[in-house]
Symmetry: D2
Subunit: 377 residues, 4 copies
């Protein structure tokens, strides 16, 4: 028999759906001691929260997150609200002794993040941040190959996250699905939304970043604001790119934008080492390309690995070789790991403390762009 | 409030998992009048059936499919057992007034299939066969583009399904996961297992097949039989290829094998018409390649369409552009359509009657290979 | 100092250009004892022949191929005329003691081919047929890998040659650049033009073909004939596909058409063996894909080999890794090999005798399609 | 009848071969008033120069470039020597009234480049720099599409040139084929060798670059020097990356390295505009990928354009659709354009003056890396 893990979800937007799905599916595929129970969903709009609860079969609804946190029957608070609310909710949840699962990015800035880390560490509550792309099987396999030392000394790391959905100048900012365009709610534009993923994976695969030089751009300077009804200055960065040095001496190159026609969600990374290289992209997420210079010269070329076999990360739990899984499974994997770590008394990476490092790099990037100078992380 | 649709699943193997998953997930993503309820799973091995029920949260277990069919609280029988049991179970279920959802291929041969069709038609029970690949969004989009007449007169259709998992001569045949290698349980080898998918999609996209010339091969002639413990002659076809004429005058080329190193489950099709072409493969199932000769000549080339946008089939129900779904979603889509059709009083394609046509082509293919002559379907 | 090899070219069409280019370039890149000299070009239209001679710097022009053959200063006759003239010219050239280089296909039918082989063998003159695609570096590398036994026992061979340039029903047949559509000049349609390449490579890589079952189609039944000015029945095959058994027990699948929208000259082959597989296509001719099942499982995938390194066939003669060569170089390679073989007193593959085997397969294919039955080669 | 254009080539290394090949082939494919004549090759090593002359059929040999320039029978001086000799030779040639064709990069630094520009402009001699990649048909087609305004306002430009041939720490620097590793001969490492190509194409396609922030790295700090026989400090940059703003407001991202395992000569660019995008890479140089947001949504995707048709740049001169050309043809095209411009009295782009702009960007990049600050160009 499994033990229930009662989930209180805050926020019923896009991320609310991905997390709910993960909680509902995890035990069908992963044998775990704990089984998440969709105990309550919380949102300010009661009607929408009710509809969400009905669709996903949450047992109850709250409209005040403080009440949710106060409930005795809730074990874990999952934060899926806009970035500017993460800190307050997370800290309150930790103080109430709840486990906290927080959507990325951790916080609006490193200072907020520090307080969040302090709160969960002081409360000694399990905590994790949903940098879900680490748990694409092909990405986890990349981590394994790097860790085994197959690439040798690393020379280069490059990563990009390209989208094209905000090019239309008539798109408003703010509110509901568009809070990511509102600097007040999001803190930054592509830096916190997209580059944060690139940075999290980079640090995981290649270690810490030492210093950065960056540039940002806001192509559309003013947009109608949904909350005020007025045309207002756009405060977010539409595009951001930076160069960096990693602590291991390798060079980094990062870029992110919502103005790259033809790319829906092209998140890529590539790492080049002395002996070999790896590359991956989210548009074909089940594939990992691997190059090994030690292959015999006449048959040397990038291996196109279809990461769907049972000896590859997470894949023994799903179907058979050749049959792919998708985006949503990364969240299932994160829950599966969280449940396993919970039973084992281990932290689940990335913890708040780990996610704080990404926040610091984001901050250095934004500062560098603002000051037009290299910044240490 | 949704109405329950009580499911009685027969078989707890690979397909039992894909169907159970589909039933559990469909209402989270598709608004439907009916909601499948995992009422009972049936399997001869009580212990395994219990374990399966526990994992998937079936309410009860049966070890005799006839008892399952006799239960008043079961609305639909879903058949996930080896091919040689489909007819008997399906006919009994129909006669008991149950809806029947049957794994493909429909039957061991057209004669059996005719009796199954007669049974469901006489009983007037909703029925469908799980040719799931029709409901890959990219494949459904292909159907839409063909139906709109975008390709013009069709000249060519080619399809293949290549695997490489039975090359090892030490692999036994028969029993459990290996019943597909046992001609007694499977009826045929790759023809019924893999080519049947190719044929179903082909007929759906390009109409009926008129005649065929085929060849089959069994590369490993004898294998240990798991059920008898003896080395026995292998009765299935390891590989099968055929040429054909479609009723619309186009030429067809089909191939399937389990001896193609490097291909895990490479199911592909391509269709060439007067104005344009389409191609697709299961290893990157969210992509559809489209060629349109009417494009301006200097920018003419295959369009690489990442079928993940909200205006593409089924995709408004999932995530956002660029984020892919996978294999298992094809089953969710089939359930979603079945539930919608049920509410509307419509048949769900492919019905038993439609699947019988595929069975007839398979039979013609096997006969052609045996007689080394062209066969009409 | 190099020795001159005086070339007499018959025909100044597309193939006349590719051969002339090869003769002019070969010694710039390949050290050889012989140096081809463009001594004379022969064509019935004096004005066009003069223009061609001027462009390519031929020393002289003939309008009667018999005079060309009679010239004492000509060492080798190169036949670039339509298929229906190959036999007569080649036999006369051989009888005059000239070396003969003949465009593919060798002949209109095996009977003609037999006489051509007899002529060159009796005259003991060096002879070769321009199946140029064998000498794409990636294809030659494929041959090397197969010969080294890397693939193990072969199970499957498949090949296709897809074009789309004759779909327009208003395209006339016959004369000048369109003689390939005129059965009188070409003998057959895609079978002799395109499948002959597929078959030549297949035999080279995988050995002889035992028997075939084929179908052909002529989609546009009548076309204006350029030579008669009348709408006439089209005698060629627009499309041809066949299944076959190789002598080594593997299965073959071949297809060719000029009605596959989106494919300009997509010549592909793939070979699947016990241990590995190879595939190649002409649209990216410098790449060879190689799969080796003996690779470690977690990094197993198709190797994408960019065949441009100095240790790959012919590539030490050209540029540096990563820099590709193209179509025309296959002809340079054939001349380079011919010159080397000439100096060494060796035959240059494919000889007339080898090309005759391809002719026999073509004939079996056409007969099979006509009789709707399996034919032995 | 064509007019001779007498070429005096200085240098017989890799570039000497590519240029010689271009001169010899151009008139076979391009009708031009002028025909290059390989009058003389000049190199300090008489024996090697003789061998080169014999292979390429140069009429004569010089060992002193000043003598070559002094010859009355030479019309044009082509400079294929290491970078540190470009200025002296080019200025002398111009002063002697010779046309000058100079390998890239133009010079060691902008100051040298200014003097070279002044010399050719004062002498009013035709001049061009061999930035050959502009004349890959797919790249020229990209220029055409950009010029037609198809992409709309440009947001992003990114380019990289990745190689992996200097990773081995035992590779020496200096002399013969390795002068590119010797800062004294090359001036810089990948910046002048590889990034210069990226920058030239970028300026051509997207206009001038305003400012840059850059980083460089030398991974192997000391190497045996071939000329001194001693282990010496490596003065070149092994890797260089920079961010920039273009004058048109778009953002640029550039990277180049010789330490990217798996990439032989992966030169890529991508440009993203309001309506569409383009991308290309040298490893498959005959393909251009084009995205047009104005395509109907359900068939919207990158067009994979195989740039081999007669209506595409330069391709009417070569073979037929589907048959590719390669690296060396870019030089043929540059000669073809030079000859045509010469007859028409026009300058051939890039002129020395145009190439100077690239030199200035390279200088700004190196200065930025050295000072760790943004630099204006």
């Amino acid at each position: 028999m499994t033990k229930p893990l009662n989930i209180g979800l805050v926020g019923y937007g896009f991320m609310g759906r991905t997390h709910s799905n993960a909680y509902k599916r995890v035990n069908d595929f992963f044998e775990r001691e704990y089984r998440p129970v969709l105990k309550a969903v919380c949102g300010r709009d009661a009607e929408k929260a009710e509809a969400f609860a009905a669709q996903w079969q949450y047992e109850s609804v709250e409209t005040d997150w403080q009440k949710l946190i106060a409930r005795q029957d809730i074990d874990a608070i999952d934060i899926c609200t806009p970035n500017n609310t993460h800190a307050e909710i997370a800290i309150a949840a930790a103080e109430a002794g709840k486990m906290v699962l927080c959507e990325k990015p951790l916080s609006m800035d490193p200072e907020e993040g520090e307080r969040m880390v302090a709160a969960v560490e002081q409360a000694k509550v399990p905590n994790t941040v949903w940098y879900n792309y680490r748990r694409v099987p092909a990405v986890t396999l990349a981590k394994q190959l790097v860790q085994e030392g197959r690439l040798g000394r690393i020379f280069h790391y490059r990563s990009q996250f390209l989208q094209d959905w905000t090019i239309d100048a008539d798109l408003p900012q703010g509110g509901a699905a568009l809070w990511r365009l509102d600097v007040g709610a999001a803190g930054s534009g592509v830096t916190g939304d997209l580059l944060a993923h690139c940075i999290d994976t980079a640090i995981w695969l290649n270690g810490s970043i030492r210093d950065v030089t960056a540039m940002t751009e806001t192509f559309v300077k003013e947009r109608m604001h949904n909350l005020t009804g007025k045309v207002e200055k756009v405060g977010i960065d539409d595009a951001c790119a930076f160069l960096c040095h990693f602590e291991n001496g390798s060079l980094g190159l990062f870029e992110s934008t919502r103005y790259a026609r033809g790319h829906k969600a092209l998140y890529t990374f590539e790492i080049n080492g002395e002996h070999g290289s790896l590359r991956w992209d989210l548009h074909d997420l089940h594939r990992l390309e691997y190059f090994d210079h030690r292959d015999e010269s006449i048959i040397r070329g990038w291996h196109d690995v279809h990461v769907t076999d049972g000896d590859m990360p997470y894949m023994d739990k799903w179907w058979v070789p050749g049959l792919q899984i998708g985006y949503e499974h990364t969240f299932v994997h994160q829950v599966a790991d969280f449940l396993e770590d919970l039973a084992a008394g281990r932290a689940t990476s990335p913890t708040f403390a780990e996610a704080l490092e990404t926040q610091k790099v984001c901050q250095a990037v934004l500062s560098s762009a603002e000051t037009a100078s290299w910044m240490s992380v």
